[in-house]
Symmetry: C2
Subunit: 151 residues, 2 copies
């Protein structure tokens, strides 16, 4: 398809991931080198697209096993479709939470309250997420997405 195979360092540079992460992803079954040049892995450029998808999925809160599963995805797998759709629904829920939180933050950044906990606007908003009372499956999907300090 095209001559240019990439070595791991190049893939690392192009993807923004580290070489150790790439090897780790390989261990976990997310990517596979096209082959080896001696001992060294060589990759097809298409791995970059795949990595972009992986990174997006990670940022969206998918675990590595989950991503590996999605990537493997056997043919005409009806079950798969269902799982994808379910995932999409989870993301909708996450989107709603995220939006609420963002709006809260924006409001908080603007309103004059000393402590977040004291802002009535925000509290009112948060209360709407309080169906807690009974049983709360708090193991909802979370997801990340921040630089949040890589210290």
């Amino acid at each position: 398809m095209d001559g240019a195979l990439l070595d791991i360092g190049q893939v690392a540079r192009d993807s923004g991931l580290t070489t150790s992460t790439l090897r780790y992803y390989e261990d976990r079954g997310l990517i596979r080198p096209a082959g080896r040049h001696g001992l060294r892995r060589v990759y097809e450029p298409s791995v970059l697209r795949q990595l972009a998808l992986i990174v997006l999925a990670r940022q969206t809160g998918f675990g590595l096993d989950e991503i590996a599963g999605l990537l493997q995805a056997t043919p005409a797998d009806a079950d798969l479709r269902a799982r994808l759709a379910a995932k999409a629904d989870e993301l909708d829920a996450a989107l709603a939470r995220l939006t609420l939180m963002r709006d809260n933050l924006r409001h908080a950044a603007g309103c004059g309250h000393p402590r977040l906990a004291d802002c009535p606007h925000l509290n009112t908003a948060v209360e709407s997420t309080l169906p807690l009372g009974e049983q709360a499956d708090l193991d909802r999907p979370a997801f990340p997405g921040f630089p949040a300090s890589r210290a």
Copy 2:
């Protein structure tokens, strides 16, 4: 403002968190009991609102230290406002990613491709997230992990 103090078990039930999590949050400076009855912690009901906010923030990808910081939030802190606004912007970015991923999933659930990696629609979409290409972007050493929810 009201007589009913709650014990830790009650708070756990009402918030959906475990007692160990509540103690842990206290350790980490996120909540504080109103006092003790003997050795035992007693809480004001308002802690439930606070916990709801904490849970929302966690689900939104905030780390505990970060949340503690936001909750402490000293008066008229101009810096704080800036950080809140910055956070909100981060959330916007996260929202965009999440939305993209959701749309991808929905599409993938519907289109007939055996492997996700083979769907051109999805690949096209993902490629738009590929600012990768050029520089190594040293300061983006991958992404923080996150809870991923217990089994």
